[in-house]
Amino acid sequence: MRIGVFVCHCGSNIAATVDCPAVAEQAKNLQDVVFTTDTMYTCSEPGQNEIIEAIKEHNLDGVVVASCSPRMHEATFRRALERAGLNRYMLEMANIREHVSWIGKDKERNTVKAFELVSIAAAKLRNNNPLFANKFDVTKRVLVIGGGVAGIQAALDCADAGYQVVMVEREQSIGGKMAKIDKTFPTVDCSSCILGPKMVDVAQHENITLYAMSEVEKIEGYVGNFDVQVRKKATYVNWDDCTGCGACMEKCPSKKNLDAFNEGISKCTAINIPFPQAIPKKAAINPEGCMMLKKGKCGVCAKVCPTKCIDFEQKDEILTEKVGAVIAATGYDMFDHSVYKQYGAGQYPDVITSLQYERLMNASGPTGGHIKRPSDGKEPKKVVFVQCVGSRDPAVGRPYCSGFCCMYTAKQAILTKDHIPDSDSYVFYMDIRSPGKGYDEFTRRAQEQYGVQYLRGRVSMIYPKGDHYVVRGADTLAGTQVEVEADLVVLAVGAESAKNAPALAEKMRISYDSYGFFMEAHPKLKPVETNTAGVYLAGSCVGPRDIPTSVGQGSAAAAKVMTLFSKDKLESDPQVSSVNASRCVGCLKCAKTCPFGAIKEVTDRGGNVKAEVIETVCQGCGICTVTCPQGAIQLQHFTDNQILAEVNALCQAQLDF
C-alpha cells in the first residue's frame, strides 16, 4: 500500500500547540507511508488540490489527513479523494484539533499525541478496503409531526412542491401556540388573521392528509422508507360526518370542564370545538367530563346532532403510513410556574401566565377581548409583568433564555395600555433581549410612547394584601428594593420542551438535550437536520423560537425534504455489516441482537443455514459484529481487523521521537 499523510496547521488552530512539520516528518517512518507533508489549511481549495496532486504524483492508494474532527470535514476530504479517482473509504482522519491542539497547551506532549493519532489512522488505513454504495427507492411522501406554525409551513411547502404530506397533530385543532395568541410582535398584527388562512390551506390542500387528535405510535425503517404507525385517539364523534355546526355544544349539560385552549381561565362543555377557526372544525368529547362515558347517562349530544355522528363506542385506531422523510415540528410547552412558591405557586387567581393573558386580550377569548381580573372581573389598573419566570434560572433547572418573552411582554404591555388607557404597566426584567428586525425599537416604543415602567431586577415575592398583590422586587439600577401594589400580575413564563418529547425522539432515533429539546445535526451548519438520515426538525422542538424563525425553519426543513426527494434512488451507506458465509455457522445470534431486523436467515447451496445482511436496512451500528463469536459478520469500515490495528498501533507505538 502507498499512503500519503497530510498534516494540517489549521492556521494557528493546530500549529500553535502542535509541531505540525515534526509530525509530518515522523510519519515518514510509518509502514507503507510514502509521502507526507504539512499544509496551512488542508480543507481549503489549494489544500485539497495538494492532496489530489499528491495522490496522482505519488500513486497513493490511501490518505491520512491529520486535522480537525472527522465529524467536521470527513465528507470534504472523501470528495477530494474521489476527485482524484480514489475510493472515498480509503481516507482516515486523525483528529489533532478538537482532541489535541484545543485541549492542551503543552506543545511537546501534543506533538507526540498528534503523531500517535496519525499512526493509529495509518494502521487502520492499511486495513481499509474500497466500499461501494447500493441504490434503493425513495417513497416520496413526508410525515409532518405537529401542526403549529412551523409544521404548517413545512407541510404547505412540501405539498405545493407536489409531494404527499401526512400531518399528525396531537390536539383537536392545528394552529399550535400561535392560534392562541392575540397579536404578534413587533407589528402588532392579528395572529389569527395571518395564521388562519394557512390553516385553511392545510385543510383544503389535496396533497395533505391531516390526522388531528393523533399521535405517532411507532416509526420503523430508514431514510426513504419509513413505516409509521399513527394512533388516532377516540373523539367519540365520527369526523367524516361532523359538520362542526356546534349544536351539541349548545346542549351539552356538562359545562364545567377545563378549557385547555383558553389555558384554563374559562370552562367549556364536555363535547367541544376548541375555537371557531379550528381546523379541522370537528367536535370531540372529553371523556373525563362526559356523563355518558363516565356514568352511561345523558347522550344529549347524540340526540341533537343533525348528522348523527356521535359514537360513544369509538376506540383509538392505529393507522399505518409509508413515508420517505419525517419533519418533527412538535413545538414547546409553557413552563409550569407552580414551582415558584414565592409567587403563590399558581394559587393566586390574579397571578396568571402570559399565555392566559393572551386569551384575556383576545377578541375570541372568554372575555371577548376585555381585560378582566379572573378573581372578580374587575378591570385592572396596575398590571405588573414579571419576566424570566422559568428562564435563566438554574435553581429551577431552566438556565437557558427562552428568547421571546422580552418581546411578547413588551407587546402585552403596549396592548394593555391600548385596552385600558388609564392603566399603568410595570415590567420586571433582567436584560432586554430583542435582537430581531424592528424588535428593539418595539421595546423602546413600549417605554417611550406607552410609558411602560421597566424595572431591572427580579421579583422576590408576590403576596396578596387586601384587594391587591404586593410585588416586591429589585431595581438594581436604582440600587435598591422596590414594591408595587398590583391589580394583576402576569408571569412571563418561559418555554420548555413539549411533554413526551424524549419519548418521540426515541421513536425517531434522534437525540435530545438535557432539557428535552431535540438535537440538530450541527447547531450552526445543520440546524434543521438530525443525525438520523431522513428526519428533519423545525421550530421550537429544537429550542425556544419566535414565529418568523419557526416559519423559516418550516420552509428550511421542507427544502431539505425536497432535496432528498429530488432523487429517484438513494444511495445506501456501504458502512454496513457483511457476512463471511464461509465463517458463519448459522447460529443467527446476530439476527437476534440486531435492533433493525436487518439480518435474515438464508440457506446456502449445501443446505447450511447462514446469516445475510439486508444492506438498506442495516444502520451500521456493529452490535452484530460483537455478538458473533466467529467474527463472521463484520461491520465494513469498522472491522475487527481495523480496530485491532488501531489498538495494536497505539499499544505498541514507539515513542522515540
Binding site: 412558591k341 414565592q342 405557586a345 403576596y463 396578596p464
Partner: protein, 291 residues
C-alpha cells in the same frame, strides 16, 4: 406509641421563652414522646458565634451533639430554630471528613459519633403524625382564626433544613388545622421579624415585625402562632415598641404552637405557661371556648 429522643432546650428556654420549653415538654409527654434532656448541654453559639467564625460556631454546637451521643442519644430535638440551624450546620460540618478535624481541634474531642438533630415541630408532624393529633384533641380550637408564622430559618436554607417547603411551609398550619383552628393564609410565613437586632438596632425590629403584624391584622388574625423564641419575643414583648414606633395599636396575642396544641390536647393554661405571654391571649381563648 412511644418515641424517645434527646432534648436540647436552648438557652432561651430557661429565660425569655420559658413557656415554650414548658409547653413543649408537656405536649410531648401528652403525645407519648419521651424527651431526655442532654445532661450539661451548653449554648449553641447562636447567631453571634457564626457571625464571628464558622468553626467556632460548629465547635460550640458540636459539643452538644457529641455529648448527646455519649449519653446514648442518636437523635436530638430542639424547639428553637436558631439552635436548630446551628446544630444542623455543625452536624453537616462534622460529617464532612475534610472539615471535621478543624472542629475537633477546637473541641479537643472526637466528633466521630454525634447525634443528629431535628426540630420538635418536625418530630411532632412526622413521627406523631396529624392523624394521631386529631385523635388526641379533646378541646378543639373551634372559632379561632390563627396565622402561623414560621420565621425565616425554620425551613431555610432548604438544602440544610430538609423539612417542609422553604417558601410556604405547612407543618404548623396542619397541626393547627388538626386542632380544629381556622388557619388563615398568612403570606409572610417566612419573612424575617428582625431577629436579634432588637437590642442593638431596635428600629429594624419595629419595622419588620410591624410589617408582619400589619398583614396579620389585615387578615383579622386572632392569634399569631409561632415556633421560634426570637420571633415570639419580637412580636409579643416588643409589640408595644412596634406600636409606639409606627403609631399603631395592634393587640394580637403571639403564642407558641405548643401552647395552643397543648390546650387542644386538654392541658391547662398553667401547664402551657400562658401567663408568661405579654399580650394576653386568654380573652380570645375564652371567647373561642378553649379556656
Amino acid at each position: 406509641m412511644s418515641i424517645s429522643v434527646g432534648y436540647y432546650p436552648g438557652c432561651s428556654g430557661s429565660g425569655t421563652s420559658v413557656e415554650y420549653d414548658k409547653s413543649t415538654r408537656a405536649v410531648c409527654k401528652k403525645l407519648g414522646i419521651e424527651l431526655t434532656e442532654i445532661d450539661d448541654w451548653s449554648c449553641c453559639g447562636s447567631t453571634p458565634a457564626h457571625t464571628v467564625d464558622h468553626t467556632l460556631s460548629a465547635a460550640l454546637s458540636a459539643r452538644n451533639l457529641v455529648l448527646a451521643a455519649k449519653q446514648g442519644q442518636e437523635e436530638v430535638v430542639t424547639p428553637c430554630p436558631s439552635c436548630l440551624a446551628n446544630l444542623r450546620t455543625a452536624s453537616h460540618k462534622i460529617e464532612d471528613e475534610a472539615y471535621r478535624p478543624k472542629v475537633e481541634a477546637l473541641l479537643d474531642d472526637s466528633c466521630e459519633s454525634a447525634a443528629t438533630v431535628a426540630s420538635t415541630l418536625q418530630l411532632i408532624v412526622e413521627k406523631v403524625g396529624l392523624d394521631a393529633i386529631k385523635k388526641a384533641v379533646v378541646k378543639p380550637l373551634k372559632d379561632l382564626n390563627v396565622a402561623c408564622y414560621y420565621g425565616c430559618i425554620m425551613n431555610r436554607p432548604p438544602e440544610l433544613m430538609q423539612f417542609d417547603d422553604p417558601e410556604n411551609p405547612m407543618a404548623m398550619d396542619k397541626i393547627m388545622e388538626a386542632c380544629g383552628a381556622t388557619v388563615l393564609p398568612f403570606p409572610l410565613k417566612v419573612e424575617c421579624c428582625g431577629a436579634a437586632a432588637g437590642m442593638p438596632k431596635k428600629e429594624i425590629v419595629t419595622e419588620l415585625s410591624g410589617r408582619l403584624l400589619n398583614v396579620a391584622d389585615s387578615l383579622n388574625t386572632e392569634i399569631i402562632v409561632t415556633a421560634c423564641p426570637l420571633c415570639q419575643m419580637n412580636l409579643d414583648l416588643r409589640q408595644g415598641q412596634v406600636n409606639r414606633a409606627n403609631g399603631t395599636g395592634y393587640d394580637i396575642p403571639v403564642v407558641y404552637f405548643t401552647q395552643l396544641l397543648g390546650l387542644a390536647l386538654g392541658l391547662s393554661a398553667d401547664e402551657v405557661g400562658l401567663s408568661k405571654l405579654v399580650v394576653d391571649p386568654t380573652p380570645r381563648l375564652r371567647f373561642a371556648g378553649v379556656l
